[in-house]
């Protein structure tokens, strides 16, 4: 199969098109990338790139704030994106993370959309107990807890969600996460040895507008529905509604991206674990 793609010149970097609406106002959306220095393994930066590009294509002005330990917390926060990390990364950010716990919990309660991948998903839970019994506390946004196990769950993964359809990505974790009663998973997986804990067929967790998941890939580029959910929630919370202001070029660009993503999804879903 072949496809010709033309005119891929990046609109977002060219002239700032799409940052001003029909009346000339700009509509900023402030996005926090949480601990990119220590919690950004397995390509989770792709999620930030995706949100930035799509915000522009919908006529918003993305403002990406990278927040690392010790940094001042941005005044305006419309979305928070967090990634996976190594154990050493989790330990490093731990102190700072607890200083920000109240702030983060308040933003969650205020319906700020967030995406927490892998290590940050675990830290948004109640606790993580490593294989040798050491307990690392989380901030309890999700009613979930995680236990380290010998067996790593690794591989391509497709999960099913009523809201987002098939979610396509790649999991890689040795922590097994269990949901407390009544906690909503992000999606369901078929077969054993995959998902949150390999046993109960769940993957990820949801609360308010917060998504926790083990899906790398990166997740958002191949799952535009989740990207758009986060964007719509951020815009609605800040501006009362999600209303794209798009010129024809932006519409066409978004359509082309989504077509490429659809092809990438189709192939990824067909690959061995």
């Amino acid at each position: 199969m072949t496809q010709r793609t033309q005119g891929t010149k990046p609109m977002d970097e060219a002239n700032g098109a799409g940052q001003a609406g029909p009346l000339g106002q700009s509509r900023p959306i402030d996005v926090v990338s949480l601990y990119p220095k220590d919690m950004n393994i397995y390509g989770d930066w792709g999620n930030v790139l995706t949100i930035r590009r799509r915000l522009k294509l919908y006529g918003y002005e993305p403002r990406i704030h990278t927040y690392n330990q010790g940094d001042p917390w941005p005044e305006q926060v419309d979305m928070v994106l967090g990634g996976g990390g190594q154990d050493s990364g989790q330990e490093k950010i731990s102190d700072d993370f607890f200083k920000r716990a109240d702030t983060l919990r308040a933003l969650v309660a205020d319906d700020v959309p967030m995406l927490m991948i892998c290590g940050m998903y675990q830290l948004f839970g109640e606790y993580f107990e490593t294989i040798d019994g050491t307990r690392l506390d989380g901030i309890g946004v999700f009613g979930v807890y995680t236990e380290g196990r010998e067996q790593r769950m690794i591989g391509n993964l497709v999960e099913h969600s009523d809201q987002f359809g098939d979610i396509i990505g790649y999991e890689n974790h040795s922590g097994q996460t269990f949901l407390r009663d009544g906690v909503e998973p992000l999606g369901h997986v078929e077969g054993e040895g995959r998902g949150n804990n390999g046993e109960d067929g769940t993957e990820g967790a949801r609360v308010h507008n917060v998504i926790g998941t083990y899906m790398h890939g990166s997740l958002l580029p191949k799952n535009p529905k989740i990207s758009d959910f986060l964007i719509a929630a951020a815009a609605t919370r800040r501006y009362g509604e999600f209303r794209p202001w798009q010129e024809e070029g932006q519409k066409a660009e978004l359509a082309r991206i989504d077509e490429t993503a659809a092809n990438a999804r189709r192939v990824a879903a067909s690959r061995p674990r």
Partner: protein, 482 residues
């Protein structure tokens, strides 16, 4: 180290092993490791016994990136200096592969006609290997995010290499610029020397480590319109000397203290188009090289450092290898040719087509940074077979913005669409997406025959690209056993 007693049948091991090897070839078993498997079962001491007889011992080369090229360089340089060298062929970088390779070389009496062995070993297999054979020299190159689905995490990979450092009896040569590798000095046993290879300050910015991929993101800075991807390179100094070191766990080596610079035995001082200069003992040596890309020149510095250790340069005279002076070592570097897929150039109807193996974010970034854009057409081929790594996440840790100026003419491989999507989000124009590798290669080399071509490929896709090019021209045997 467990010293396995010679089993009664040990005298016959070479003969049996060779017979199995002959048989498996006859039966087209194909796997180069199978005879090794048989020998490991009937005579587990074969490896230690055979390598233990070598007068100059074993040089073990490990790390994420550059093992194959560096092993070739070390072997080629030692041969140039008159040593008889046993080395494992490309791709068989696991213990069984070494046993199989030994079987082809030993006499029926079990003797290896060599002075020294230079062995490339995968990080995990290196640990297995040093339990059987203590290397006299270890060259530890780097730990980078690669095939994490096999080893877990970078810190864990560094721990694996720590076992190699602990087991080495003569000299451990470490990459000064990789803080996880440099920190392994703390594990080297008493009586074993530590040496470093390094980069001049000018060159260090070209070699960001995985840790620095996001250091360009200044604290709390708002980046609304910054065109640079977040993965933009930043100076190495920042991380090597910042508080960035991980909190040491019990029994873990301490990473470098802020501001410290270890004295390197060999420094890559400058790198140009097929030329380089190295500083050794305060003296600078300029040379031409046949290797492509600055990362291969850094590998050459690594090779020089270990060859100097073997030949006793720097105040240890009298070791075999004679009185090889540094000038002779540098001449040996100048003669090293690129390994399969590491900057190999194949000429198709008069147009040079350069194959560049990419297998992890940093390798890909270094490859991209090694060539000025605009002078060539680019094709990228991404497969996701086991040898490539199934996880496509790594593509998102490569900064492709340097390709914006020229675009990418052709994208191919099983995961062509993942690659196209990645380029899309970096604003790089994509000419054509075609997962069918032979068709894509044909179309690509047909474009403007006057312009040189670069093809970036993952491991298995490189084999297919090479085969496709082979049908268009005469390509030498790849020389890999699979």
């Amino acid at each position: 180290m467990p010293t396995t007693k010679k089993p009664w049948n040990a005298f016959a091991t070479p003969t049996i092993g060779k017979a199995v090897r002959g048989l498996s070839r006859l039966l087209r078993h194909g796997g180069s490791a199978f005879p090794g498997k048989v020998v490991e079962a009937i005579d587990p001491g074969f490896l230690a016994r055979t390598l233990g007889r070598l007068p100059q011992g074993v040089v073990l080369v490990s790390g994420t990136n550059g093992k194959t090229t560096t092993t070739r360089m070390v072997a080629s340089m030692l041969r140039d200096l008159g040593l008889r060298v046993f080395t494992n062929p490309t791709g068989s970088n696991f213990t069984r592969g070494v046993v199989s390779a030994l079987l082809t070389e030993v006499s029926a009496g079990g003797r290896l006609d060599a002075d020294i062995a230079v062995l490339e070993l995968d990080e995990a297999y290196a640990v297995h290997f040093v339990k059987q054979v203590k290397p006299r020299y270890a060259l530890l190159l780097n730990v980078m995010r690669d095939q994490l689905d096999r080893f877990g995490e970078i810190d864990n990979t560094a721990r694996l290499l720590g076992h190699v450092a602990e087991a080495t009896t003569g000299t451990v040569v470490l990459n000064r610029e990789d803080r996880r590798i440099a920190a392994l000095a703390g594990l080297v046993p008493e009586g074993t020397q530590v040496r470093y290879f390094g980069l001049s300050d000018d060159l260090r910015s070209l070699f960001p480590s995985d840790d620095e991929m996001h250091d360009g993101e200044t604290a709390g800075q708002t980046r609304a319109d910054d065109g640079a991807s977040g993965a933009a390179a930043s100076s190495v100094d920042g991380a090597a000397q910042s508080e960035d070191a991980p909190r040491p766990a019990a029994g873990q080596p301490q990473p470098d203290a802020p501001g410290s610079r270890r004295q390197a035995d060999v420094v890559l001082a400058s790198a140009g188009d097929h030329e380089a200069s190295f500083v050794m003992d305060g003296e600078e040596f300029d040379t031409t090289v046949r290797l492509e890309g600055v990362y291969n020149l850094f590998n050459a510095a690594a090779a020089l450092a270990v060859v100097r250790a073997v030949t006793g340069r720097r105040g240890e005279p009298g070791k075999a290898g004679g009185d090889a002076d540094d000038q002779a070592l540098v001449r040996a570097v100048s003669r090293v040719t690129p390994a399969f897929g590491r900057g190999e150039v194949i000429t198709v109807s008069g147009t040079p087509v350069e194959l560049l193996l990419v297998k992890n974010p940093m390798g890909f970034r270094l490859s991209l940074a090694s060539f000025a854009p605009g002078s060539h057409e680019t094709m990228i081929v991404i497969n996701d077979e086991y040898a490539d790594g199934r996880d496509m996440s790594w593509l998102w840790d490569v900064d492709f913005t340097s390709l914006r100026a020229t675009g990418v003419r052709q994208v191919s491989g099983v995961r062509a669409w993942d690659m196209a999507l990645r380029l899309e989000y970096d604003g790089v124009e994509v000419g054509r997406v075609d997962p069918d590798i032979p068709a894509a290669v044909r179309a690509f080399v047909d474009v403007d025959p006057a312009v040189p071509k670069h093809i970036y490929c993952t491991y298995t896709s490189m084999l297919q690209v090479r085969a496709a090019l082979g049908r268009l021209t005469q390509v030498a045997d790849a020389g890999v056993g699979r």
